[in-house]
Symmetry: C2
Subunit: 436 residues, 2 copies
């Protein structure tokens, strides 16, 4: 077909068809309902921010930020995540205590050929303000776990989920213990993060390249292998051997966390000392979740970031939160029209009685989703085909005979039942069949 | 307060606080529910499009398009509306028949000093495909009217609403009748659109400047004055005097429209021959809505645009639809926390019994929105203050005595009632008070 315009979407972006959009809406609804259960309030921030507010926040990934063209006026960039705008929001409004959620699209000039999207949806939840140690941290992990539980329950493609938990202070304590230079610590951590992906040989090679000695590498390797094979309690026990202040502090709080997660009946988690997470702003607990039963990476992650506000202004409040990668989950879900609910199609008797059908449609719409069969001169078969294709549950036929007798014909697409009813019983019948 | 970053949002954009975001969510919910009642399905398109797909669609307003910086790869711009991306979507996927809605943000480099937003939310509804004349057109106006009716009912700041209806073919027919050069027609129409805003003198002056003769201006002025003072039926009658094919065709269909709107019980509308609407892609009916009781411009508008697809590719399908200006409506609504629903705050007896309160909170969250009072060492008064400030309905207190007696104390913030209940009656009591 000849084209005057290029009909594709920009690389790394895509259109959501009604089916895909309906599944996405359901995922967002699951997140939103659970966030609200925990008394979070919603905020919205602009799609783009002043560039100066973003360009020192993401370390190496700053190069992935989408810039707006300088067309005069403010120099702006599309938001890269929802966390930095949230920190700007609370700093600007001096809000020290809030439980907020935000569901929105973020933008990264990532490599689409690796399957990475350049625009994707995140559903974020964060709590700010002082509290006793690990109270908010454990609540975040609980909420995250509730959402994943609900998604697993609703989408059978997923078997279960698992959460990995670590603490930046443990990683930093280990770096201190190994006497790694401060400017190399984040870089070493990014190699640590690859523990699962790389072979033992590749991992050692990369540590070596980054300047670690054999004995440093041995210590790391031993610790990570231990973490991989041992229980949460044993890992915490093992960590006390380092006698490092940062590690000791983190271990004490981790013990509290385990206690609280037990109260919350959160069980699908494991302390994993190789979890590092990319973003540089974390200061305490970090965690990441993934589904089992499908081949895919992590679909949520978060942690404590007590210093991000301070890096923006002199306003300061501790923060902990996480993000659900809605688009990532959506990407692996089978496309279904199960979430598109259409109740009634008002059928046409060969295009006759247009105004009567308009009236009937309008009447049904007072309570149910309803559409009038489009066009004229349509036969019975075509209408059933249209109704099936468009996920209708029922067709309500009227006609000259029906009009005379004050009756209607209901065709049930699920059971293929046909039934003639009195017009005055319509809503009673619909309630019976549609169950609402 | 000293700032390391500039905490403001870019000019023409703003943050939505929880209260504002909750009102916006309600407006969107109203639109979405009514769209779904009419069996529309949701789609999503990317926030940015290939620039070539936008830059010939908006006439003079093309200069208001936000461009992304050329950072290598696709040359893109932020979407200016949801209609052009929708047309690209159906053209790409060869969808000739769809009823779709889309709620999303659009971007215009408009003048913020005039109170215009540079990012704002629209809730669009469109129907494509062939049907008998005016069937879809009247349905669109009905849906628009349903939404405005619902908003007026829910937000007492609005007294009522009114819809203006016109047809591009009438305007074009008049231009033909007056023998206005084709390349001047859109420009003349944009002056026509100012009929209400300008004085009669200013209007004539502007027509004169655009090259119309005195007799041409007289004809227009007479017609518009007539339109302003006469009933829909009289206006249609008057238009037949022109004996112009385009006008005659439009008048015949307008008569049908009046008939259908009567069936749909839509009454708050008036044919207004001065309604022109800015966008150049309309080909038939056009309409615009506004609220009465507040000083503000139009808050929704739409029309038929049968040729937009053809301008994109060789794919062709007739389209009619409209857009609700969610941000515009939001802008004039009073800020309220009525839409933020928080059921229970679990109160702290001076920070004691933390784990018991965690358990209780978690239990209540199985059914209701619930949060545990943050921090420790808090007194009764502070907690009531916190609950009031955060829109809680109830505080559930536990304490050592309560724990011993297996009781709880419920404090009702609306009635100021305090009540001691048995722990096992908690959900019964909550259902009683919260009514769900």
């Amino acid at each position: 077909m000849g084209q005057k315009n290029n009909l594709r979407t920009p690389k790394g972006t895509y259109d959501l068809t009604p089916e895909v959009a309906s599944v996405k809406a359901r995922l967002e609804e699951i997140c939103e309902k659970i966030y609200k259960k925990h008394c979070a309030v919603k905020i919205e921030t602009p799609t783009f921010e002043l560039r100066e507010n973003l360009d020192d926040k993401y370390g190496e990934d700053t190069k992935l930020i989408f810039n707006l063209e300088d067309q005069g006026g403010d120099i702006c960039s599309l938001r890269y995540d929802l966390t930095v705008p949230f920190s700007r929001f609370i700093s600007k409004n001096l809000i020290s205590r809030i439980r907020r959620y935000q569901i929105g699209n973020v933008f990264r000039r990532d490599n689409p050929s690796k399957g990475r999207l350049r625009e994707f949806t995140q559903a974020d939840f964060d709590i700010t303000g002082n509290n006793l140690p690990m109270v908010y941290d454990s609540e975040c992990i609980k909420i995250c776990s509730e959402i994943l539980t609900k998604i697993v329950k609703e989408f059978p493609i997923f078997e279960s989920f698992k959460l990995k938990i670590n603490d930046r202070r443990i990683l930093m304590g280990i770096m201190e213990y190994l006497e790694v230079e401060e400017d190399m610590q984040m870089s070493i951590c990014s190699t640590v993060d690859k523990y699962e992906k790389l072979s033992s040989y590749e991992l050692r090679k990369e540590f070596e390249l980054k300047g670690l000695s054999k004995s440093q590498i041995d210590t790391l390797q031993d610790l990570f292998d231990f973490s991989n094979k041992n229980s949460n309690e044993n890992i915490l026990e093992k960590l006390t051997e380092f006698k490092n202040t940062k590690i000791t502090e983190a271990v004490e709080e981790m013990k509290l966390l385990l206690r609280y997660l037990k109260i919350y009946k959160v069980t699908n988690f494991k302390i994993d000392l190789t979890l590092a997470r990319g973003l540089s702003y974390y200061t305490g607990i970090i965690f990441e979740g993934s589904f089992t039963g499908v081949e895919m990476g992590s679909i949520c992650g978060g942690g404590r970031y007590d210093e991000l506000c301070r890096s923006i202004s002199t306003f300061q409040t501790p923060c902990v939160g996480f993000s659900i990668g809605v688009s990532r989950i959506l990407n692996v879900l089978p496309i279904t029209s199960n979430f598109i609910v259409k109740d009634c199609l008002v059928g046409s008797a060969y295009g006759k009685l247009l105004e009567e059908r308009m009236l009937l449609t309008s009447k049904i719409q007072e309570k149910y989703n309803c559409e009038m069969m489009p066009g004229d001169n349509l036969n019975y078969k075509n209408q059933i085909k249209y109704a099936e294709k468009n996920n209708f549950k029922l067709i309500i036929f009227t006609g000259e005979k029906e009009l005379e007798n004050k009756t209607l014909q209901i065709y049930n697409l699920k059971t293929n039942d046909k039934k003639v009813i009195n017009e005055c019983d319509l809503f009673k019948e619909l309630k019976n069949i549609l169950q609402y």
